[in-house]
């Protein structure tokens, strides 16, 4: 998983992604991290990874109960 391989993208796309990384305000370390995130999001299957942390899930359940959905 952590082994990295090199892929090639056009310079123009690279520059666009780089701009997005700069504007993300520290959300992404670099272009590689951004591209890996986007591709993972696109290819993600349900239940592959939890959507919520345990605390977030408890909070969402509390809110949904309070809202009457359950």
């Amino acid at each position: 998983m952590n082994e990295k391989v090199a892929v090639y993208i056009s310079r123009e796309l690279y520059e666009r992604v780089k701009k997005e990384v700069e504007e993300s305000g520290g959300e992404f370390k670099d272009v590689s991290e951004y591209i890996e995130f986007v591709l993972e999001e696109l290819l993600k299957e349900e239940n592959e990874e939890a959507v919520y942390t345990k605390e977030e899930e408890e909070e969402i359940k509390r809110r949904l109960r309070a809202l009457g959905y359950m």
């Binding site: 359940k61 109960r65 309070a66 359950m70």
Partner: protein
Amino acid sequence: MRKLLVIGLDAAPPRLLYEELVGELPTLGALIEEGARYQLKSCHPPITIPAWAVMTTGKTPGELGLYGFRHRKPGAYNEYWIASSRSIHFPQTWDILGRRGLRSVIVGVPPSYPPRPIRGYMISCFITPSNEVRFTWPPSLKRELKDYIFDVVFRTNERDKLIQELWRMTKRRFQVLRMLSRRKWDFFMFVEIGVDRVQHAFWGYMDKEHHKYEPGNKYEEVIKEYYKLIDEELEQLLKEVPKDAIIVLVSDHGAKRMKGAFCVNQWLADEGYLKLKEEPKKPGMELREVEVDWSQTTAWGWGGYYARIFINLKGREPHGYIDKRDYEAIRDQLIRDLERIRGPHGERWDTKAYRPEDLYQEVKGSPPDLIVYFDDLSWRSAGTLGWPTNYLRENDRGPDDAVHDWYGIYVVHDPQGTIEVGEKGIMKIECINDHLLELIGV
């Protein structure tokens, strides 16, 4: 190819928008009067999740495998998972448009957390845990959304505070919508959840038929004032929208007065379907907090705007009691017993209990064994126990005034006049996705 703006008002009913308030809302009123008007027939169940997902995929809840906000984890009595954007395995309207090179702005369409990469911009919906997480696409958009508000907590008796919070949330959302409307887009869709919240919290103050209604109460006009706020905000938003864009106004289901909450698990226990090892110690206890004799239990239920009934089937459940060969007979018996339930004064109810396969051609995921609407949705389902009666005048989760209803609104307004104006009959929620694509011209 046409640009299209979809204004989503969660739970807006025809009664308010087409009849009672239309004359007092200049912007919404003009869209409605000069548009093609449909009664939108919601899905089973008519609830925010799955309804918006049905609308934006054209798939039924059975195909989506989405029957509400929560779903059982197979093999466990008390564990469930919460629906999220990742629960949707079909392309949504904006995905289809994105593949054709068209750009979308999507704000608050449930379930849209976590936000997925799209061609354009996305802000996730009210199931977003907090502003701390990544809730936009692209992630950099979040930096422009300081103080964005996803939702309010409406089951509070501090009504004045709730009004303030609702107004603040909606004004902030429209600020963001105006900002995004100036970007490049072909398809722009947002959902204002505040409509549902204001109706749940204040319906009893407005509706003269409601058991809580008192003439001249100080909150009588809150729902109307909230729609006026939306109207004013929309007027500003529409100034930013290209003049030739088609405008759609839509809700995912309707709303009506709540008559009460029916205690489904207490009833199942009364009828011998559910066996408890102990009496609940206090009112409002969850089923998981009470010791259940699963070795003798036939069925149990979940609360919400509708009841989900699960049969304790051998081979499927941890301590299954019902043999597979008896399953259909038990379901049939339950349907007969459920549909015979009468109201608190012995009045006849219009209760319907469905097998999922009666409602959907395809049934995926973890559906309940029965889907039940008490008195045509007028009574919500309470899953908690320990109450002195099976008929609660309030929701078991706290004060609530409204329930959902089958029909929402769907209005298509074309400023270029290509669409015939007037009453158009019924539009099924499953058909909206195709209709929107057709309007755009793809």
